[in-house]
């Protein structure tokens, strides 16, 4: 066979590693800062560097900058070698690199400025969202083009996971980011209220699945057997857990919304699919850990294997905890508490951070043709980081369970044991300090790694590996080999069997209980008999259906798209349909123009990072906050503000609960009216003003999204807003001789807070009709 010599593009991986380590330091440093801000409120530096604005910066930096660059480095390095082909285009590789870095820089600038969509892990505003989509497409083109030029016909399991990542992230990002611009740096989500909540957590959960899990599993499948020099445990386990994972993961998003106003059927789907995810996730863990069979003794000396083994163990731990937290009663305790923060850090620090460290320690010496500068330092990094994670996770468990129990503790006669919310926060202070210590240890270990990698790179010189590969690419070779037609693969027996069983089960949504029982029994029978038939018809002299599929990148991709889309379509489409119906019958009234302006202030300050607006149906929760939240309460909220964490109390029914003066004093200095509060102060809202004329565009965009403002209301928005603002400002002046400019953000946010959970009052909103006096929504 003719061969040729090719050189891999390893330069791009070196650059991505450099970027990942650099942004990792930034992202984790911001993490340490926000941890300090929770333990010690004085470390907030409003407006730009206070918790509400830095927390999104931390999550975005760690997920998209640190892990993002790490996965690009690993994907590009391993893909070229697994496909025996150099990356298709150096130009696209560089566009990918610099495009991604500029997105990160624009995130680092806009988030502290309060430019945000407020959708968690998708906060970046629309121009940056478009840039992300474009750069992702560049990555995809570069990847699939390389795939087309491969000299290795069969795709190894790592490549399967990369394909799933590319497809799913594109779909998730684009759908969740759909928004109508209000201006160059502001937009409103096209989805509102409960729909927006569902779409957001379909995205949020699957960003974890397809950005932090599937590409890293692919990286595990390449770098772990390389580092251990041992055969991968089981090919058939790879097949089963790959397809199960990509299919099941997508459905699990609603477990972030248990006991909210999301319909019961969607909550149940979220919960049961999360429970079913346990085994497929552990399939990845087993395949990783069992690959180490025969190499366990080397863990004592080799830091790379130490990091990989610990990473996979943390993955197993986090993917057990995930399904556990998805059980409704457990969620009832843990939701909105620090338990969730601990859970995600077991995944981010343990799984992602340790996979990254192992991969860097393995790759950098090879990319620079040298040995690791200091094994000892790498080992110390490992022990520091492991201890740091344990401190972090354990302190957050304690904090979460403590607060969850304090919220629900009742006295004998039905009152709350801790009626003052603040008590339940102050009880956590020691845990917040412990977490800070744990996070700092981890950060120190990471900086040691950066230094070690830098010294390693300096001791060698960049090497781009050259290899001998078969001269012909696959297109040339294809004509000489028998070719299975694509439809025999797409409609192969396993796919048909899956479609039949899936189709039968999907009728459960429509039929009565008798038919449901019958169908489930039938589906079980079909699945069983079908599997047996597939086993019996396997011929030992022919490749299996899946083996054929692995040789066909396009067909494989198409089937992956199908598996990834089903869950999202099944959950989101019904919600969008009922959403437009709900809009027609709602009794809720849209926000007044000033309240809308105040809502933008609430969003920009990141209030949602600490305050929920969703009262769950528990007696102890309604005693504290008032009537259970309904979907109707937030029907006009583009985007929704249900939140995911209660460092402060729920605000769903804050309107009218306290006076304007209380809110004013509280925002200027929370400690004045709420002794011991850890909330940052928002005195700058008094100085920062807005233009009434700018509100018209906001109301107009809301109208285009289906919020029932009349044309007249749109036109009058600036005047109505001003009238309401003057009312509030003069009220404060009269009450306590406080001078607040009517066009200050302070006045707007007070108007918004006073509206939460109730209909407009004639006084509050001169534009509203008289029939809606003070009464609760719905």
């Amino acid at each position: 066979m003719e061969t040729e010599r090719i050189t891999y593009n390893d330069r791009i991986s070196r650059w991505f590693i450099g970027a990942s380590v650099t942004w990792g330091i930034v992202g984790m440093l911001v993490g340490v800062i926000v941890a300090l801000q929770l333990a010690f409120w004085q470390s907030n530096l409003p407006p730009y560097l206070s918790f509400g604005r830095l927390r999104p910066l931390h999550t975005n930096a760690v997920i998209f900058a640190f892990v993002g660059n790490m996965l690009f480095a690993g994907v590009y390095y391993s893909t070229q070698r697994l496909l025996k082909a150099r990356l298709a285009s150096d130009k696209l590789s560089w566009i990918h690199f610099w495009g991604w870095q500029s997105i990160i820089v624009s995130a680092a600038i806009t988030l502290p400025l309060g430019i945000t969509q407020s959708k968690e892990y998708a906060e970046l505003e629309w121009p940056i969202d478009i840039a992300i989509a474009l750069v992702w497409v560049v990555f995809a083109v570069n990847f699939f083009w390389t795939l087309a030029r491969r000299r290795e016909k069969q795709l190894y399991v790592a490549i399967w996971f990369y394909i799933a990542t590319l497809i799913a992230i594109a779909v998730l990002h684009i759908v969740n980011a759909l928004a109508i611009p209000v201006g160059p740096l502001q937009s409103y989500s096209v989805f509102g209220g409960v729909q927006d909540a569902l779409v957001q957590w379909w995205y949020g959960h699957n960003a974890v699945a397809f950005f932090l899990t599937t590409p890293i599993l692919g990286i595990m499948y390449y770098f772990l057997p390389k580092a251990a020099d041992r055969p991968v445990f089981s090919y058939r386990l790879s097949i089963i857990h790959f397809w199960a994972l990509v299919f099941l993961y997508i459905w699990a998003g609603p477990h972030h919304l248990l006991y909210t106003a999301l319909p019961d059927w969607a909550q149940t789907l979220g919960m049961v699919f999360s429970v079913m995810l346990w085994a497929p996730s552990w399939g990845g863990m087993i395949n990783g850990l069992f690959t180490l069979r025969g190499a366990w003794d080397r863990l004592r000396t080799d830091p790379v294997l130490k990091f990989f083994a610990a990473a996979i163990t943390f993955y197993g731990m986090a993917t057990f905890e995930g399904p556990l937290l998805s059980i409704k009663s457990v969620s009832g305790l843990a939701h909105y508490t620090d338990w969730i923060i601990g859970h995600v850090h077991a995944g981010a620090l343990g799984w992602n951070g340790f996979m990254a460290a192992g991969m860097f320690y393995w790759m950098v010496p090879r990319l620079f043709g040298t040995k690791l500068h200091s094994q000892k330092s790498a080992n110390t990094h490992f022990y520091l980081a492991t201890f740091g994670i344990l401190l972090y996770v354990v302190s957050m468990w304690v904090a979460g369970v403590t607060q969850g129990l304090m919220w629900r503790a009742q006295t004998e006669d039905g009152g709350l044991m801790y009626p003052n919310f603040l008590e339940t926060v102050l009880a956590l202070k020691p845990m917040y300090w412990t977490r800070l210590v744990g996070g700092t240890l981890y950060f120190v270990g990471f900086v040691m790694m950066a230094w070690n990698l830098y010294k390693t790179a300096r001791s060698g010189a960049p090497v781009d590996e050259e290899v001998e590969v078969p001269a012909a690419t696959l297109q040339d070779a294809a004509s000489s080999q028998p070719h299975t037609p694509w439809h025999k693969l797409v409609f192969g027996a396993p796919v048909v069997l899956t479609l039949v069983v899936g189709g039968m089960l999907s009728t459960l949504a429509f039929v009565n209980e008798m038919a449901s029982t019958f169908i489930v029994v039938m589906a079980f029978g079909v699945a069983l008999l079908g599997s047996i038939a597939l086993q019996l018809t396997r011929k030992s002299d022919r490749p299996t259906w899946h083996a054929l599929l692995e040789g066909r990148a396009l067909v494989f991709t198409v089937l992956t798209v199908g598996a990834v889309l089903i869950g999202g379509v099944a959950e989101i489409v019904p919600m969008v349909v009922t959403g437009s119906r709900d809009l027609k019958v709602t009794k809720n009234k849209p926000y007044s123009p000033l309240e809308l302006q105040g809502r933008d202030v609430y969003v920009a300050e990141g209030c949602y990072t600490c305050h929920s607006q969703m009262i769950r149906p528990f007696v102890w929760e309604t005693a504290r906050y008032g009537k259970v939240s309904s979907a109707d309460d937030s029907i006009f909220d583009h985007p929704f503000q249900w939140g995911s964490k209660r460092t402060g109390p729920d605000l769903a029914r804050e309107g009218g609960l306290r006076s304007d003066l209380w809110h004013y004093r509280h925002l200027v200095d929370p400690r004045e009216v709420s002794a011991g509060s850890i909330m940052p102060d928002y005195a700058h809202l008094e100085r920062h003003t807005f233009k009434f004329s700018g509100i018209e565009a906001k109301v107009r965009v809301m109208r285009s999204l289906g919020v029932p403002y009349s044309v007249k209301q749109v036109q009058q928005a600036p005047r109505d807003a001003e009238a309401q603002a003057i009312l509030i400002a003069t009220g404060l002046k009269k009450e306590a001789n406080v001078e607040v400019p009517a066009d200050s953000k302070m006045v707007a946010v007070i108007a918004y807070l006073q509206r939460l959970g109730r209909l407009p009052t004639p006084q509050s909103d001169p534009g509203a009709t008289n029939e809606n006096t003070v009464k609760e929504v719905n």
Binding site: L82, K84, Q154, Y156, V157, K226, R230, P231, V232, F233, S234, Y235, R236, S238, I240, A244, D264, Q267, T268, V272, V275, M276, A279, P280, W282, R293, G294, P323, Q410, T411, E412, D413, G414, G415, L416, P419, L508, E513, S516, T517, S540, P543, T544, G551, P617, F618, V619, T622, A623, R624, V628, G656, L657, R658, S659, W662, R665, V673, A675, V774
Partner: protein, 197 residues
């Protein structure tokens, strides 16, 4: 093209190696039985859970469960009378407890001695919503949504709501200079009468 059915070599721990990619060998061990069992069990649980709640409707859905919890939790002892509240004023334990509750929850708006700040002065004879013990208890228990007074009854429970009312009654008439009088002049004998706030 790799032959998919003949092993490339046999590894003494992992068994037959069937594929090799860039030097990475791949074995094909059976799925662990306990793992398969876990997968089946979780799937069965999922189907069973769906049937229990959404097909046979045996289990209560979220709001049904809440309605039941709410019905069970409606406790005794929410009713008060003037005699009861006045009697509590003489009970040192109740006043001590009420005082602590007042410090924890009320001084933010009504100040340490009840002389008023964000909320009205509780020590003067003027009352916006009535000054009788039962009136004061009602305001504390149910709140005044339009005026920024939260409903404390559901938060504190009936006993503590009574205790803090009793404590507030001890402040009535202490006439501490503070926030200007609001509401109507009220006296125990005559009830509300038109006043000059």
């Amino acid at each position: 093209m790799t032959d998919h059915n003949a092993p490339l070599r046999k590894d003494e721990i992992q068994g037959d190696v069937i594929h090799e990619y860039d030097g990475i060998e791949e074995a094909d061990n059976d799925l662990p039985q306990w793992w398969l069992g876990l997968f089946y069990a979780c799937t069965l649980f999922a189907v069973g859970y769906w049937f229990y709640y959404h097909v046979y409707n045996v289990g209560p859905l979220t709001m049904e469960a809440y309605a039941k919890e709410l019905a069970d939790s409606v406790g005794e002892g929410g009713e008060v009378s003037e005699e009861l509240l006045l009697a509590l004023m003489e009970d040192p334990d109740a006043i001590a407890e009420g005082s602590a509750l007042f410090v924890a929850n009320c001084v933010v708006c009504h100040n340490a001695k009840g002389e008023g700040n964000i909320g009205p002065n509780l020590t003067d004879p003027y009352w916006i919503h009535g000054g009788s013990p039962v009136d004061i208890h009602r305001v504390i228990d149910q709140g005044v949504l339009s005026a920024g007074m939260p409903a404390w009854g559901s938060l504190l429970g009936p006993e503590k709501a009574r205790q803090v009312t009793a404590y507030a009654l001890t402040l009535r008439g202490t006439n501490i200079p503070g926030k200007q009088p609001q509401g109507e002049l009220w006296s125990p004998d005559n009830g509300a009468e038109p006043g000059t706030p």
